[in-house]
């Protein structure tokens, strides 16, 4: 919101931006330093705002700012009328702090503690990134240590993530040098999803590198039973905190958080068990079978079929039923299907391609309009688009509350990945949206 308030201030309009207490530290510090550059006079409201009854809102408006303890309406008046301080009139670049390549030498115990104090870890033990270890890790790629993998600009500022910085986090996570090309490719998608809505990520690897480094795509592929699956996923989390600067209460505000962020659900697709005619995710993204590719997905929800497929109720019916619990935001869904389920869908149900299944689900998942609009993410992003006349939202807004809509209207956002060891015909349906497939070979 600071961009809107900034534009108003730049037009000469005194502005009082209002925000929830969860982001008060961010807007008062980080946003001014690295994003907007303007010391906006934020007025802080208690939470929740969305979903709270009018009585609560009355108490907020007639109550106090939870940060300053001052009456909110008096703060608003002061924000619009009080003379500017010298700091509020400042222009130009503030002095920058130097950041060295090395940390001050110290004992292992103190350094382990320092990494926790700086919130550079996931609070599980890390391997300290000595020069020797990082140098060894860099042997996993032909790229130079100072090559910039990505410049991260969110949530403000610009941080040049070099190959060496990625290697440092890889060492911390316990990675082997041969994992580094995969990790560098995932780093191009860092940091992980960050929202008050407690987002998460999923990392899926395709291509020959799965076997080269021993990733698991079979039994227990999505559990803590394989070193590269575990460590590559963990590195994405550490990168999100070290170079991504995502720190609780300062730049992240997830209400519940997501346990998936410990490992980001990292696994490989079981390409060897794909049914005939079903392409792998990477081939669907335009790559060749011989290419090694990583896809980083973003979402929230992860629902298990719990039990095995029943002859009396084809799997696509139960998948359809469970998809009714997903928000439908962006039409996104990702089915993680054991090869047994994939074979059933292909051979028994007649879905000869993944796309054919996606089209069926797009047409057959239906929910009441009021359920769709009852989701805060959907309402936040799409309601105003409907007010502007954008379809299908404009039509869905006008529907009677109980009328059914097909929220997964874009079948291209419904994807399937085949994973698992064929020990039982189970599946997960998730609302994860696929990111762009990234070449791992380019980082060898």
């Amino acid at each position: 919101m600071s961009r809107h308030a900034k534009k108003l201030e730049e037009l000469g309009i005194p502005t009082a931006p209002c925000t929830g207490v969860n982001v008060s530290k961010y807007v008062a510090g980080w946003d001014t330093l690295y994003a907007s550059g303007i010391p906006l006079r934020y007025v802080v409201f208690p939470l929740p705002v969305a979903g709270a009854p009018r009585l609560a809102h009355e108490m907020y408006v007639n109550g106090n700012d939870p940060v300053t303890g001052q009456p909110i309406m008096e703060e608003i008046v002061a924000a619009l009328t009080k003379q500017l301080t010298a700091d509020e009139q400042m222009t130009g670049l503030p002095p920058a702090a130097l950041e060295s390549r090395f940390l001050p030498p110290d004992t292992e115990e103190n350094l382990q503690e320092l990494f926790k104090v700086e919130d550079w870890t996931d609070y599980l033990p890390i391997v300290l990134p000595t020069e020797e270890r990082v140098s060894s890790m860099l042997g996993g790629t032909s790229h130079k240590p100072d090559e910039v993998v990505k410049t991260i600009t969110w949530p403000g500022g610009a941080r040049q993530v070099t190959v060496e910085k990625v290697a440092i986090s890889a060492v911390m996570a316990g990675a082997k040098p041969q994992y580094l090309p995969v990790i560098l490719a995932t780093a191009t998608m860092a940091p992980f999803g960050n929202s008050t809505t407690s987002m998460a990520n999923m990392i899926i690897v395709n291509g020959p590198i799965r076997k080269e480094i021993g990733m698991n795509s079979g039994t227990d592929a999505m559990g803590p039973y394989n070193e590269p699956n575990a460590v590559i996923g963990r590195t994405f989390t550490l990168l999100s905190k070290t170079v991504g600067n995502l720190h609780a209460g300062v730049t992240t505000f997830s209400s519940l958080g997501s346990n998936l962020q410990y490992n980001n659900c990292c696994f490989a697709e079981n390409e060897e068990a794909l049914p005939q005619g079903w392409d792998s995710l990477s081939v669907q993204s335009g790559y060749q079978k011989e290419d090694s590719v990583v896809t980083v997905c973003t979402g929230w929800t992860y629902i298990s079929s719990v039990g095995e497929v029943q002859l009396s109720y084809p799997p696509q019916f139960l998948i359809r039923d469970y998809m009714r619990a997903l928000s439908g935001q962006g039409s996104a869904a990702l089915l993680c299907a054991d090869p047994l389920v994939a074979q059933n869908l292909r051979n028994e149900q007649g879905f000869t391609t993944k796309e054919m299944l996606a089209r069926w689900l797009s047409e057959n998942v239906r929910i009441p309009a009021q359920q769709y609009w009852g989701n805060g993410v959907v309402a936040t992003f799409n309601w105003n688009l409907g007010l502007q006349g954008l379809e299908p939202y404009a039509t869905w807004q006008k529907m009677p509350p109980e009328e059914l809509i097909a929220p997964f209207s874009n079948h291209k956002a419904i994807n399937t990945v085949v994973v698992g060891g064929q020990t039982n015909n189970l599946w997960f349906i998730t609302d994860f949206r696929l990111g762009k497939g990234v070449s791992i070979d380019a980082w060898r």
Binding site: T81, L93, P105, K165, S169, N245
Partner: protein
Amino acid sequence: MAEAKSQQRATVASATADEIRVLNPACKNTLVERVPLAPRTFASLAGKTIYLVDIGWGGPDAAYDVFQLMQEWFAGNIPSVKTVLVRKKGAYGVDDPDLWSEIKAKGDACIIGISC
């Protein structure tokens, strides 16, 4: 929090035995140029027109009545204030230059929100 970190760093810096050297995992961030606030040219809101802008965060019902309650507050406490309650067009992060122009032309100040 910052003080605690500083104390922790001081503790770390004072250690002497069995030292090792490790690389810094963090990236230097670039600061942005500071932008000043608009001058506050009036000491009171009496007689002014204030736009109340709902950006739509959390949906259409999330904060709209907060702004309605603000209108009631102004009516009771500074009755000469004229309030204009509007919804910003587009999703919450999308620019709305037409609205900013309207506020510039017809308003004196703005209250905008509520982000969470």
